[in-house]
């Protein structure tokens, strides 16, 4: 249970205090009305006695009353009527929410929960106080009956004494009428007190004194009081009013309640709402009776009565003359000075001490005497009474609720009760307890259940109020019994409620929260929702006081309380509060059914209370991504409610609400600074501007750096990125160009079980014009340009600087992701920030019957949240989770600039190895104002690409000369091709077409060529120095021919070149490769065809071997010579040769030779370095006739180049190389072998050096038996060792003779030559360039 401000005993004293009625004459009321007060109201603030007063009990003990309070009510005031009472209670609860003090938080920490809970419930206190104030006393008790009646007559009355007697008469008439009506009185002989009211400013003092004298004479001095009030006139001027405002106004609290309730009473009396089921249903009958009573009772004093009941209205009109509704402006006690206040204090004190307490003393004594005298009688009659009592109980059992008590008015129990009540009211708890207990003892439970319950209740209360004075244990069971009796047997929930209110306070003080919970719960199930809700909430708070706290029980009962608050209506704020308080507790994972229920209720109710933000927050929680338990139907229901609520509350919103679904997958957001463009020339559009692969990004930036490396101007600028994803480095802002399309691609996920329908999807952006320039120039801009634009508004705006494309429809299926691609264009330079997407959200309704009633989708937004890569470079970053900045959504827009489109037509897809194909490249400047001054191209395979102008349609250029000079220099060429230079800029809106030659590589398979076009314009400025267009082509390369050669030196300054050409196609086909021409490009060698004319076509599986001989070419001027050999069959074309040196062949050849030497081609920084030309290069031209898809034959041309390694004579040959020798003999000899065969062998020697040598020739005899191949070596005849002198460049022949005795296969290798070094007297052996000399000796038959 929540804490309250008052202590329990104070609370009980306040709940049960002596009641005093005030009966006023009309003139007295008139005087009081000057202060805007009735007399009862006038003295109400003074009802609590500040000082202690005392009286003596029957046993003459002094009882000291501390803090005694009297409850003073007008004679005619009635407890509020049923519906009104309900309304008052409701209001008390709903108003109390507004003045909640802030610092009432209580922290509860448990293992699982850390909670901050408000531990006061002022609304409950307000309701309880209100309930106790407006509830009335029952027939079985006297606590709420009036003890005394105060008669008030003013001195302005013509005959005050007569008026007094009339009032007395009125009171006694009321008391004696039958049946008894409200107000009820404590006993027949109540205490009467007489006040002569004197208006100091108007009345005559002498009259007052004389009348008061009479009064004292008639009613006794102790029972009369002359009260002087209105010491000053009511303020007419404003200063007086101000002064009055400064006066303390103790009435405000009291009068506000009563006057407003009076007004409401008069309003609600007529239209009583019978349909409401109410807690105070038992009250209805009584009050209905009472309403009759007021009309009947008003008969003798009708004029008074009506005027009094209309009192608040007349007061307001009379004094304000203006609106009656505004109660707070009414000033109370305007005519009263502080001394008047003191007089009222004195009056109250005298009334209590001199009048009321002596009366109480007397009556207690009387009761005591009655009790003691009767006790004797009772003892005598006790037995038969018990006997008869049994009979009466059975009768009362049948109709327990109709009669609350069937005890006669003067029975013993009633006397006990009355005595106890009186003692209780005047704080003599011990006496009260004795009497209550006596009453209880004498009664059986069933005899008079209501009475019995009341006694039980009071027993508990008095027991508690005695505090530690007695050692009696608190009879908790009594209270439970009392509540049980009240609710079940007597059906008097009002008393049960009162009982529970007091009881739980007591239990709370005794810290037995468990029992308090039981009592709260018992009463919470009754039909009053408001009381049920309040009690449930209190029970929930009690759970928190358990040790350990029952947090989850608290949460559950708060939810039920919230539910009851909702059912009670009018106090929805309390329901929201209940739900909100415990939302956190259910926020643990996966209690989502419960969590959703709370959120759904919160959302719905917040919406109906127009708390738009709360409603949105609650509903958004319903669709949180981790919520997977709800089924589809439930989600559809949620969604329908969501849409309905949103459509109601977001109409007034200026910015779009954030929507919970679908979920944007922030890692997938891509920003692409290029639009789609359709081919204008009918070709293929450059395709690589919206690709994103990690590998290729590096390739592109490498290519771009290759180009920009040469530009001094562009040095330091970063490479141009068009595409930004979560894998790119996004520290810098993307740079977009005004009026160009920016595309955003993202994936959204539907976490719900129902398909979502997004419509009118577009990018949400923010745009500001400033800042794209350097700060120095910013100051010059007009303030208008500083303005920020955004489309984050609910209303459509015109004249926006950014134009968005709208995606009309997008369906996302349950648990699926969907790609959304959106584009936008800015019309001005500035800073564009992509905030998110906005769309109209709905779900795809499949049920047709729903479709008609289905609410319209709601416009809302989802924001993007991008973050860079997680940083991991230093310790701080490793320990925390720090992400790099990501600026990919903050786009810098630069002024309009040229945009180059590239189109290819037609780009070949499949090629043979070595094939050369051409295609057209269209450069299109789409800008209407600026021209492009330079376009450069770099590719990933620069050696396979060359360009020519559009006119060069033919690959082959023919010439008549079979031999010619390469008439231009072969320079190492830059790998960058300049397509447009500033001499011939690409003008605005113009197109230029260039022919591109592609040479397929010699490796079969897939070949990828990346093309990077980099273009510049004069209007480009930092940060956009240049722009790029990317294209990547994939070619399928199939095998064509193999082209191999191995040069063989003939040793004598000549080369033989056997050339083998294979058809290497892997699949059988009917294609024929026709070799056309072989060209030799060399500085030193000339080529000659040794092969006979053969068919030049090579079909599948065939090969062609050709033999060429190269002779040393006398070449003085170091120029490059070409020699073409026609290999074709066509006799008519024998003198038509293809000029290799002409482009594009020349370029391809240049690429070939520059690629040969890898060490040189690796670094390209030296721009024009002469290419190291290989000694000999062969270029083979071939063609394949192939049928295309249309069945037409087309000729495909190919080019294979080879540069065989040959042994070129060194300028400084080694010594053992300087001498070359050769054996010349007939290799096959037939002989009859009738005699020894003498074979003449000629040894040829050649000195290559410009030097004289002495040679040693040895002809060994040793046979090479170890060699398995040879049968034997020959035998030489003649001189076996001789020395030969060989001068410079001398040819020398020696005749040797070899002897053979039998046929066989002989080697002539057993010959060794050595150079004799005279200085060192050593020999250096000479290696033969042909090692094996064999001779085949056969028998001639």
């Amino acid at each position: 249970m929540a804490q309250t401000k008052k202590s329990v005993s104070e609370f009980i004293q306040d709940a049960f205090c002596p009641m005093v009625s005030v009966l006023c004459s009309y003139d007295a009321e008139t005087i009081c009305r000057k202060n805007n007060l009735t007399f009862a109201e006038l003295i109400q603030p003074f009802c609590r006695l500040p000082s202690e007063v005392g009286y003596r009990d029957p046993s003459n003990n002094l009882i000291v009353l501390k803090n005694l309070r009297l409850e003073i009510k007008d004679f005619n005031s009635l407890p509020p009527q049923n519906t009104l009472a309900k309304k008052i209670l409701n209001d008390s609860v709903s108003n109390a929410l507004n003045n909640v003090t802030t610092n009432n938080e209580r922290e509860i920490h448990s293992e699982q929960y850390q909670l901050h809970i408000k531990n006061t419930t002022p609304w409950f206190d307000a309701w309880r106080d209100c309930f106790l104030r407006i509830s009335y006393g029952g027939d079985h008790e006297y606590l709420k009956n009036y003890l005394a009646c105060v008669m008030v007559v003013s001195t302005s009355h013509l005959d005050p004494m007569d008026a007094f007697s009339k009032l007395v008469q009125q009171q006694s008439l009321q008391q004696q009428q039958s049946p008894a009506k409200l107000p009820k009185w404590f006993m027949p002989n109540i205490y009467k007190y007489f006040i002569l009211l004197h208006d100091v400013t108007e009345g005559e003092e002498s009259k007052a004194v004389s009348v008061f004298g009479d009064l004292k004479q008639q009613y006794g001095a102790g029972n009369c009081h002359l009260l002087q009030i209105n010491s000053k006139r009511a303020g007419q001027t404003s200063s007086d009013i101000n002064e009055a405002m400064n006066m303390p106004d103790p009435w405000r609290l009291y009068v506000k309640q009563s006057s407003s309730s009076n007004q409401k009473q008069s309003q609600t009396l007529s239209n009583k709402d019978s349909s409401l089921s109410d807690s105070l249903s038992n009250l209805t009958d009584l009050i209905d009776q009472e309403l009759n009573l007021t009309t009947s009772i008003s008969h003798p004093l009708g004029s008074f009565n009506t005027s009094i009941s209309d009192l608040p209205a007349t007061i307001d009109e009379g004094y304000d003359g203006s609106s009656t509704g505004n109660i707070s402006t009414v000033i109370h006690g305007a005519c009263l000075t502080l001394s008047d206040h003191d007089r009222i204090h004195v009056f109250m004190h005298e009334f209590v001490t001199k009048g009321l307490l002596p009366w109480v003393e007397t009556n207690l004594k009387t009761f005591n005497e009655q009790i003691t005298s009767r006790r004797g009688i009772k003892k005598i009659f006790s037995m038969p009474k018990n006997f008869f009592g049994g009979g009466s109980t059975s009768a009362s059992k049948n109709q327990p609720s109709t009669t609350s008590t069937n005890l006669s008015n003067d029975s013993m129990e009633v006397v006990f009760r009355r005595a106890a009540d009186l003692a209780f009211l005047f704080q003599h708890y011990e006496l009260a307890y004795t009497n209550y207990h006596a009453a209880k003892r004498d009664l059986s439970r069933d005899q008079a259940p209501t009475f019995y319950a009341g006694v039980l209740e009071m027993c508990c209360i008095t027991n508690f109020m005695q505090e530690s004075a007695t050692s009696r244990t608190y009879p908790a069971q009594y209270m439970d019994d009392a509540i049980e009796l009240y609710t079940v047997t007597c059906r008097l929930p009002i008393f049960a409620t009162r009982c529970a209110l007091v009881s739980t306070e007591i239990l709370k003080a005794r810290e037995s929260y468990d029992a308090a919970v039981q009592q709260f719960l018992k009463l919470s199930q009754e039909d009053s929702d408001l009381r049920g809700a309040l009690f449930l909430e209190q029970a929930a708070h009690c759970f928190l006081n358990y040790r350990p706290s029952y947090i989850r029980k608290y949460a559950f009962y708060m939810v039920i309380a919230g539910h009851r608050f909702l059912k009670a209506g009018q106090v929805r704020l309390h329901a929201l509060r209940c739900y909100n308080d415990v939302l956190e507790i259910y926020g643990k994972p996966n209690w989502s059914l419960a969590f959703d229920h709370i959120n759904f209720t919160l959302g719905k109710q917040s919406a109906s209370l127009n708390q738009a933000n709360d409603a949105i927050r609650s509903f958004n929680a319903l669709f949180a991504p981790n919520n997977r338990i709800q089924n589809a139907q439930q989600q559809i229901n949620f969604f329908k409610e969501y849409l309905t609520v949103f459509n109601q509350i977001t109409n007034s919103e200026t910015i779009l609400p954030e929507l919970p679904v679908p979920l944007v997958e922030n890692t997938t957001i891509k920003v692409l600074l290029a639009g789609h463009h359709k081919p204008q020339m009918g070709g293929h559009v450059s395709n690589c501007n919206d690709f994103d692969f990690d590998e290729t990004r590096e390739v592109w930036s490498d290519l771009e750096r290759t180009i920009t490396a040469h530009d001094r101007r562009a040095s330091g600028t970063r490479t141009q990125l068009n595409l930004f994803t979560n894998r790119t480095h996004n520290q810098q802002h993307p740079i977009a160009v005004a009026n160009e399309t920016i595309r955003i691609e993202l994936y959204v996920r539907n976490t719900l079980q129902v398909p979502l329908l997004l419509s009118e999807v577009q990018i949400l952006w923010k745009f500001s014009s400033n800042g794209w320039k350097r700060k120095t120039s910013v100051s010059a801009e007009s303030p208008e340009e500083w303005k920020e634009y955004t489309n984050d508004t609910a209303t459509k705006q015109t004249d926006q600087p950014v134009e968005c494309d709208i995606l009309s429809d997008c369906i996302i299926f349950p648990n699926d992701t969907s790609k959304i691609e959106l584009s936008l264009r800015t019309h001005r330079p500035g800073n564009l920030t992509i905030l998110g997407i906005c769309y109209r959200l709905n779900i795809l309704v499949q049920n047709i019957s729903d479709q008609t009633t289905w609410p319209y989708g709601i416009m809302g937004k989802t924001l993007f949240h991008v973050k860079g890569v997680r940083l991991n470079s230093n310790r701080r970053e490793r320990l925390n989770t720090i992400y790099a900045v990501d600026n990919r959504l903050e786009i810098q827009v630069v002024p309009e600039a040229p945009l180059l489109h590239i189109e290819f037509s037609p780009m070949p897809a499949a090629m043979f190895c070595g094939e050369v194909q051409s295609c057209l490249v269209h450069l299109i400047n789409t800008n209407t104002m600026h021209s492009i001054t330079r376009v450069r191209l770099i590719t990933s395979q620069p050696n396979l690409i060359t360009v020519s102008s559009l006119d060069d349609t033919s690959l082959l250029t023919y010439t008549n000369e079979s031999q010619s000079l390469w008439n231009h220099t072969l320079h190492q060429h830059s790998s960058v091709l300049t397509l447009v230079n500033h001499h011939h800029p690409l003008l605005a809106n113009s197109t230029r077409t260039i022919r591109l030659w592609l040479h397929a590589s010699n490796l079969a398979g897939e070949m990828n060529i990346d093309f990077l076009f980099l273009y510049e314009s004069d209007v480009f400025q930092q940060p956009l120095r240049h722009r790029t267009v990317k294209h990547s082509s994939l070619f399928i390369i199939t095998h064509s021919i193999g082209f191999h050669t191995q040069s063989e030196s003939t040793g004598l300054g000549e080369l033989t070149l056997p050339v083998q050409i294979d058809n290497q196609m892997t699949t059988p086909n009917s294609l024929t490769v026709n070799v056309q021409q072989l060209s030799c490009i060399s500085k030193h060698w000339n080529i000659k065809n040794l092969s006979p004319k053969t068919p030049n076509g090579i079909r599948y599986g065939e090969n062609l071997s050709l033999l060429f001989k190269c002779t040393h070419l006398e070449n003085d001027n170091d120029s490059l010579q070409m020699k073409h050999i026609y290999l074709g069959n066509d006799e008519t074309k024998t003198d038509q040769y293809v000029d290799i040196s002409k482009n594009p062949m020349g370029d391809l050849f240049r690429h070939f030779i520059s690629n040969l030497d890898y060490t040189h081609s690796a670094h390209r920084h030296k721009i024009i370095a002469p290419v190291p030309i290989p000694s000999i290069s062969l270029v083979l031209l071939w063609q394949i006739a192939i049928a295309n898809q249309l069945g037409q034959y087309e000729i495909r041309h190919g080019l294979h180049m080879i540069s065989p390694k040959i042994d070129i004579p060194q300028t400084e040959p080694e010594t053992n190389d300087t001498i070359q020798y050769e054996l010349i003999y007939s290799s096959v000899v037939e002989h009859k072998f009738t005699k020894v065969l003498n074979l003449p062998v000629e040894l040829k020697l050649f000195n290559r050096a410009n030097k004289k040598f002495r040679l040693q020739l040895q002809l060994t005899r040793a046979s090479l038996d170890s060699d398995p191949v040879l049968s034997s070596c020959c035998l030489w005849s003649g001189m076996t060792e001789q020395f030969i002198n060989l001068s410079a460049y001398e040819h020398l022949s020696l005749n040797l003779r070899a002897c053979f005795f039998k046929p066989g296969f002989y080697s002539l290798g057993n010959i060794s030559l050595a150079i004799v070094d005279k200085i060192n007297s050593t020999t250096v052996p000479i290696k033969s360039n042909i090692h094996n000399y064999f001779v085949d000796i056969r028998t001639l038959v």
């Binding site: 699982q112 994972p589 229920h597």
Partner: protein, 145 residues
């Protein structure tokens, strides 16, 4: 008891009060009607945790019998050695009675222990395993739930 509206709710609650596993058992025919009250099961089970926490220290057994009651719903509990709480919500005891319920909970515990042996299952995280679902249902059928 003659025709019990046999709808049961079983939930495993983790150490920080999160739902580790929940399943609605029985009442196959009246499945539609209970969907509106599904959240009530959670509310009641959640509220019973306070009493389970108290009862587990007063008992030496793992099976705590009836720990809480809200209106017609009764909550029985089983606390594992590791401090995991199994709650079983019912209106009427199953046909196999108190023993059946106890056996059911014990066997579920055994199944759970087997699940724990799976190195890919992190304790205290939600169990999303079709095999586990099936096993629980089999055990439930075995004990006439």
């Amino acid at each position: 008891m003659s025709s019990p509206s046999s709808s049961y709710y079983f939930v495993i609650v983790g150490h920080s009060d999160q739902v580790v596993y929940e399943i609605e058992l029985g009442g196959g025919s009246s499945g539609q009607t209970t969907t509106d009250n599904r959240h009530l099961n959670q509310f009641i089970a959640h509220a019973a945790l306070d009493l389970v926490d108290e009862a587990m220290w007063r008992n030496t057994t793992t099976y705590l019998k009836q720990v809480d009651k809200f209106n017609e719903w009764i909550v029985s509990a089983y606390v594992t050695a590791g401090g995991l709480r199994f709650l079983f919500l019912y209106e009427h005891l199953p046909r196999s009675g108190e023993d059946g319920l106890k056996n059911f909970l014990t066997e579920v515990y055994e199944t759970y222990v087997k699940l724990l042996l799976n190195p890919f299952y992190v304790p205290d995280t939600p169990i999303r395993s079709a095999a586990f679902d099936k096993k629980i249902q089999t055990i439930a059928r075995k004990w006439n739930l």
